[in-house]
């Protein structure tokens, strides 16, 4: 850190000079500028951070360069930044962010949070962002040595680094069963179990590109999985939802029958609910578990008792082929027992193997499926097609029917790949 020590901290860069940022101290919403200014009295590098940010505001230009920095044994987790104005702001010459895996559901004890703040303040600025859109705790403002020291200290205290780059990313889930009656499975436990099962892939980028798993306890998707994750794992149920007719009647008495018609009956996407007097009649076969009626009448209605998950694949934002959305890969599976969990990780392993063996550089799984086609993908990972995976069958008549084409070379057996969602009929056929 010779460079830093020799830095000539001329008064104009040590003193705060932020007329534009000062305007962000006004107004009723809590101001990060006010907070960071207070911090700058303890941490001179924060004054330089604010001064550089002020220049960005003036010039409408950014002054950070990205680089790579790795903690021993890890291939990610540090978002390394170098200031392009390091001559003027020597303390920003190295100014990195550490991604830290947050507790599932973002629950904390104050003891843990204070511990986090103390470690980050000791080795860096102590600025924390709770949380980043990746689902990580973000700790800002470490130089190289500070990053290494903070990482050791964090890990010594039970924290671990998050994912970055072409790796499994830090997972994220809703509060789930810890505080929500709608959660159809244990989102926190699943998040922690999957994270720890695959921790090496999270820390050491081995994939063709990033892979995000987000986990929501029901279709309301509080974890923003459906449009924000390569693999959303969503809570759902099998069989009828639970209806308490006495509470339905109470709801109707309180809100009026028109409210129920306008906001429950007609808002059902499959029109599977009707009213008989003050009784709610549901055609359960047509219920698609969207959660709307339960959201409105949450005292009277509840998810069904036989619960599990729907697994989707493929969402990402627009680069490169345009937005992709997640689509259903597994309509339903229970996730209660160790065997269920093993079945889930077996599927994830198959998906990653097929994707990484066949995808191009920088190709997210949604882009990959769009390129090779869902049918090819299903065959590749060993899943049987299911009409619940599509909106509609195809309209294009140009089809390569394998059954109707001339056979392969004489005597050659067609190899049937093992199928994940079908029990083997007998071991002899293998």
């Amino acid at each position: 850190m010779a460079e830093k020590n020799q830095g000539d901290n001329s008064p104009d860069t040590k003193e705060l000079n932020t007329p534009l940022l000062d305007e962000l101290e006004e107004g009723p919403w809590p101001s990060f500028v006010t907070d960071l200014k207070a911090l700058s009295r303890k941490k001179p590098q924060v004054a330089q951070l604010l001064n550089q940010l002020e220049e960005s505001y003036e010039d409408r230009w950014n002054y950070w360069t990205g680089t790579v920095l790795n903690v021993s044994g890890y291939g990610g987790g540090v978002i390394a930044r170098l200031s392009e104005k390091k001559d003027k702001y020597p303390d920003l010459a190295q100014f990195h962010t550490i991604r830290i895996i947050a507790p599932p559901g973002f629950v904390y004890s104050t003891k843990a949070l204070r511990n986090l703040a103390e470690i980050c303040e000791k080795h860096g600025t102590g600025i924390l962002q709770l949380h980043g859109l990746t689902g990580d705790i973000l700790a800002l403002g470490f130089d190289d040595e500070g990053t290494f020291a903070a990482a050791e200290d964090l890990m010594e205290n039970g924290w671990d680094l998050g994912g970055s780059g072409a790796a499994l990313r830090t997972m994220q889930c809703c509060v789930g069963q810890a505080r929500c009656e709608m959660a159809c499975f244990d989102t926190m436990k699943t998040t922690r179990s999957l994270t720890n099962h695959y921790i090496s892939l999270l820390h050491r980028p081995e994939f063709m590109y990033k892979f995000k798993i987000k986990i929501s306890g029901c279709a309301n998707d509080c974890a923003n999985a459906m449009i924000g994750a390569d693999m959303p794992i969503m809570g759902t149920w099998r069989g009828p939802m639970q209806i308490e007719q006495a509470k339905v009647a109470e709801f109707i008495d309180e809100k009026g029958v028109e409210y129920v018609i306008d906001n429950v009956i007609t808002r059902c996407p499959t029109r599977c609910i009707s009213l008989k007097g003050k009784e709610l009649v549901v055609d359960h076969e047509d219920c698609v578990r969207c959660m709307h009626c339960i959201n409105v009448m949450h005292k009277a209605l509840k998810p069904g008792k036989e619960r599990g998950i729907t697994i989707c694949l493929g969402a990402k934002r627009t680069l490169k082929i345009g937005d992709t959305m997640s689509s259903v890969i597994v309509p339903f599976m229970p996730l209660e027992t160790e065997e269920d969990f093993e079945k889930l990780t077996d599927l994830i392993d198959r998906i990653w193997d097929f994707w990484n063996d066949n995808s191009m550089d920088h190709e997210r799984i949604g882009e990959f499926i769009a390129r090779v086609g869902l049918a090819t993908f299903l065959e590749g990972v060993g899943l049987e097609p299911d009409p619940r995976m599509v909106d509609r069958p195809r309209t294009s008549p140009y089809i390569k029917f394998e059954e109707l084409a001339p056979g392969p070379f004489e005597g050659e057996q067609k190899q049937e790949p093992p199928v994940w969602n079908r029990e083997p009929e007998s071991s002899e056929s293998a």
Binding site: P30, Y63, G66, G73, P104, I127, I199, G228, G322, H362
Partner: protein
């Protein structure tokens, strides 16, 4: 680390069971129902009758260690030493006794200066990216833009006056880390990347070529240096190459603008998840308070508040009234740039005679 002993590696996600509020731990998986008893305050009731009042407070997301400690002080005093954060960077303080709610709110307001709200049909805290504070690619700021917007919209955070919840997101470049939302703000660039041919050796050229979504980049030798060239007619100014290679500068302080997108949602309730669509383009990137953006967002919100029916998210409301009426009612022009292009475009045209005349 000079041969010093390393801390344990690969420990994974922290053990959340140690971080659960006692009422959460006791009633894990045994909650019965919840109610919004007022904006910003939720009551969760367990099967055994246990109650847990949750007070939701808007945070600035970027926080000093001292501010974190102040948050912890309040949680120690009122919440038995536990708290949680929401997906949209709100802090949630939980108490079991209703009598603690008022003093807790008072403490949050006076000691932290955080507003209470973000529940039900309100505007929650804005999901945002890193911006000029710490990203290497941004065309604008994030935390500042959010602060300015939330100053303007704070009443809508503190009240539940919309047909349904409104999620807002901002992104500082076209990679769009802020993702889809009911209303989203994105930077847009307006010319091809400017290539620094003297500094292309820092990039993996095959990757730079391969990353272009429209195959507009090809290898070239410029002044004896291995580099690339861009077919400008093909380039759509997305900046994918800039993320791959900093020598392909896509940003321009003088010409970059902001656009507003509407109708994204991730929830499956009623209608399935939906992508957001272009509403307003060409707004100036105008720090420190981006007033033009605030005004446009407010205009959309006011119209939605007025016209939307109960439970309709922004996108569902627009689907019902049609895009023609969305543009009429908000007063923003519909232009040729609103019409989709690309391979999927034809499926976005009106393929029926269903027309409001």
């Amino acid at each position: 680390m000079n041969g010093t002993k390393l801390a344990p590696r690969d420990q994974g996600a922290p053990d959340y069971t140690k971080f659960l509020h006692p009422a959460m731990a006791r009633n894990y998986g045994k909650w019965d129902y919840h109610e919004r008893i007022r904006p910003g305050v939720l009551l969760y009731v367990a099967e055994n009758g246990d109650t847990l009042y949750t007070v939701r407070a808007g945070s600035p997301r970027t926080m000093s260690p001292d501010l974190i400690r102040k948050i912890c002080d309040i949680a120690d005093r009122y919440c038995q030493g536990y708290l949680r954060f929401s997906m949209r960077t709100n802090v949630e303080f939980m108490v079991e006794d209703e009598a603690d709610v008022e003093p807790l709110i008072e403490a949050i307001k006076t000691e932290l200066g955080f507003p209470i709200g973000g529940t039900g049909p309100s505007i929650s805290n804005i999901a945002h990216t890193q911006g000029w504070l710490h990203c290497n690619l941004p065309g604008t700021d994030a935390a500042g833009a959010v602060k300015a917007l939330m100053d303007d919209l704070i009443e809508e955070f503190e009240n539940e006056r919309f047909p349904n919840r409104v999620k807002i997101a901002t992104s500082c470049c076209q990679i769009n880390c802020g993702r889809h939302a009911d209303i989203a703000i994105i930077v847009q660039h307006h010319h091809p990347p400017r290539i620094d041919h003297t500094n292309m050796q820092i990039c993996e050229l095959p990757k730079v070529v391969a990353i272009c979504p429209v195959a507009a980049i090809r290898p070239a030798v410029v002044d004896g240096n291995p580099s690339v060239e861009v077919v400008e007619e093909k380039c759509m100014y997305c900046g994918a190459c800039h993320g791959q290679c900093p020598s392909m500068e896509i940003r321009d302080a003088d010409t970059d603008t902001l656009s507003i997108w509407v109708g994204g949602k991730g929830s499956n309730a009623r209608t399935g998840p939906s992508l957001m669509k272009l509403a307003v383009w060409g707004l100036p990137n105008n720090p420190p308070r981006w007033p033009e953006v605030s005004a446009a967002v407010r205009r959309i919100l006011e119209t939605y508040k007025e016209e939307g029916k109960d439970w309709e998210r922004v996108g569902e409301w627009i689907e019902r009234i049609g895009w023609q009426r969305f543009f009429e009612k908000t007063g923003f022009p519909f232009t040729k740039y609103h019409i989709e292009d690309g391979p999927q475009a034809m499926w976005t045209y009106n393929r029926s005679t269903h027309v409001r005349i």
